[in-house]
Symmetry: C2
Subunit: 278 residues, 2 copies
């Protein structure tokens, strides 16, 4: 039973018509990107739609390979994606089992407050409180891998959802990014989007999550008391080259957000630390 992958889709999950792998061997990709991504997208939809039940078993790899008209290796590549997302299990000897309806966010929704807000149907807002250029301190040089004597651009922004303040964001940019940020109009909603259009790409990020007490500035901006608890997310983002492009610290009012992570024996991107490594 051959199955044709459906057309269309937003972006990374795109799918293009597939009839046969064409002249074999080749990339096979035509419209929607890699073949395995289209297979993964199709399976993801089938799973979240409940086609295999809440805790059902998937067809065998061989069966899927035949259904989609691809090799077993390609099917495995597709399934690896779903497994990393925590959607299915995988163990030797038995069919894969549906784990849950993991709602995974795209990378850009994670990095961009604006994308995130819009994906929830909320109206994102932002006000630039300050932007300064100054010499980087030791910690900043460390995080951004800058040589001694480097300067950085530092922004402070208040972020709102539908008008309500929820987070304040302090971001340190290396010179080659900061110079672009400094040229943006002060009322730009999404810095991330603008930077992307200027060729600054975000591909990897390290996040650290903990609790801190609001300082005087936080309190003033967010409208809470000094010393009130805030959920803090610190993040270092790098471009495809591995060069740091951002070192940011976000402080959320309690009750406005929660962070979710999935991991498994095979894939563990999460860790727990004792003290502040600042």
């Amino acid at each position: 039973m051959e199955r044709t992958l459906t057309e269309n889709e937003t972006a990374a999950d795109a799918a293009g018509g597939v009839d046969a792998p064409g002249a074999a061997g080749g990339a096979g990709a035509a419209a929607g990107g890699a073949l395995y991504r289209r297979v993964a997208a199709d399976l993801r939809e089938a799973i979240t739609t409940g086609a295999y039940g809440e805790t059902g078993r998937l067809p065998a790899e061989g069966a899927l390979a035949e259904r989609y008209g691809v090799s077993r290796g390609t099917v495995r590549q597709a399934l690896a994606v779903l497994r990393a997302d925590g959607l299915v299990t995988s163990r030797r000897g038995t069919r894969r089992v549906v784990l849950g309806n993991a709602r995974v966010q795209s990378f850009s929704e994670l990095l961009s407050f604006t994308h995130w807000a819009r994906s929830m149907g909320e109206e994102p807002g932002g006000r630039l409180e300050s932007l300064v250029r100054r010499p980087a301190d030791a910690a900043e040089r460390e995080h951004l891998r800058l040589p001694p004597g480097s300067e950085v651009y530092v922004t402070l922004r208040l972020r709102t959802l539908s008008g309500t303040p929820v987070m304040c964001e302090r971001t340190v940019y290396p010179p080659h990014v900061g110079i672009l940020v400094a040229q943006l109009p002060p009322d730009v909603v999404s810095h991330t989007e603008q930077l992307r259009e200027h060729g600054i790409l975000f591909t990897d990020a390290d996040h650290t999550i903990d609790v801190v007490a609001a300082n005087a500035e936080d309190a003033k901006l967010l409208g809470c008391r000094r010393g009130a608890p805030l959920l803090r997310e610190r993040r270092r983002t790098t471009d495809p080259t591995g060069r740091p492009v951002e070192w940011s610290q976000d402080r959320y009012l309690p009750g406005t957000v929660a962070f979710s992570v999935h991991n498994s024996l095979a894939t563990s991107a999460l860790s727990r630390h004792a003290r502040e490594s600042d």
Copy 2:
């Protein structure tokens, strides 16, 4: 230039002598597990030791394949592990680049307070405050995938590091696990370890991290004021079958822990949510 993988190692990172893939084709594994894991472990050490510099480039896949006497596919499998850990980049057209010294924790260190404490050289402590068996409420049945009318076992434990209280842990177990927990001596340090010896395996986990205010019970146990902020981690863990084995809620005193996550365009296990999904 052929390179022999070094012997031994703790467990999952183990390495065994390799001369040639033996009769080819086969699993090739003899002592330390899969071939690609041994290659990954060797490369991991080389990288964290600084053999390629802080931001250096790795040899090409083909070169590594020759060095280790394996196929390119196996090398790629090894590199995929390192990439998921955030240790190296990977983009078409150029060599991989060292990203950072990501200190990744093993899965068990993440799930077990005891393992975690010991890996830091601290002395873990635990006191069982209560253990009750009662009918599961709707939320608990949902998380543990239990049918109506099921019972659950609920534990409350205070956790200490070197004698200092840092966290209180409320765990809900499904019947088949709870019945084992109930039989453990009240002074057992690690429930996780004991359960593993009884054949209960942990392979997948979903974590949600946010901030909550201490209730009366938290305050009494942790020695803080009522309403004081706590870092909360909720976690649903499943076994290889996909069956939930634990639904836990840990509340940490501020300043005692931080959680770190790595993600990338290719691998995103992290997400950010608006409200409590409880």
